[in-house]
Symmetry: C2
Subunit: 98 residues, 2 copies
C-alpha cells in the first residue's frame, strides 16, 4: 500500500471510528446534555446521502464506510432523543411514578 492510500485509509477509519467513544460515553454516563440534536440529525441525513451516492456509483468501500458511520451517528441521535424524552417526562426534583 502506498503512502497516499495509507493517509486516505487512516482518514476514513478515524472519521468513522470517532463516533464509537461518543456512543460508549452516552451508554455509560447517560448524559446527553451538551449534544446537539440538530447536528446529529443533519449529519445522519448527510451520511444517508453519502450511502445513496455510494450505491449510485457502485462504490463498495464508500458504501461500507458510510454504513458504519450511519449506524454510529444514528445511534447517538436515537440515544440523545430517548434520553431527552425521558428527562422531559421526569424533570429534575420530581420523583417519577414507579
Amino acid at each position: 500500500m502506498d503512502n497516499t492510500t495509507l493517509v486516505g485509509m487512516l482518514a476514513a477509519v478515524c472519521t468513522t471510528a470517532a463516533f464509537v467513544p461518543q456512543v460508549l460515553q452516552i451508554l455509560k454516563s447517560g448524559n446527553v446534555d451538551g449534544i446537539s440534536v440538530a447536528m446529529y440529525s443533519t449529519f445522519t441525513f448527510g451520511v444517508t446521502m453519502w450511502l445513496i451516492y455510494g450505491i449510485i456509483l457502485q462504490d463498495l468501500p464508500m458504501f461500507l464506510a458510510n454504513l458504519v458511520t450511519f449506524l454510529l451517528s444514528s445511534s447517538v441521535l436515537i440515544l440523545t432523543l430517548r434520553k431527552r424524552w425521558q428527562n422531559r417526562r421526569a424533570p429534575k426534583g420530581v420523583i417519577p411514578h414507579v
Copy 2:
C-alpha cells in the same frame, strides 16, 4: 448538474454544516457535559488526514470541504476542553477566588 452530483453535494454540505449547530449550542449554553473529547480528538485528527489526502491528490474541493469541517470540529474540541478545564478549576459548590 446531474442527480448524482447533486446527491454528492448535498451529502458533503450536510456532513460539514452539521457541526455548526453543535458549535452554536456550546457557545450559547456553555454546556459540554455529554460531549466526548475522545470523539472530537479522533475526528479532528481524521479530518486533518483528509486535508493531507486532498493536498496529495491536489483535489481543491476535497481540501476546502475538509478545511471547513476541520475548523468546526476543532472548535468543538477546543471549546469542550476549555469548559472542562474551567469546571475543574471551579467545581460545583465551591466559590472560586476572585
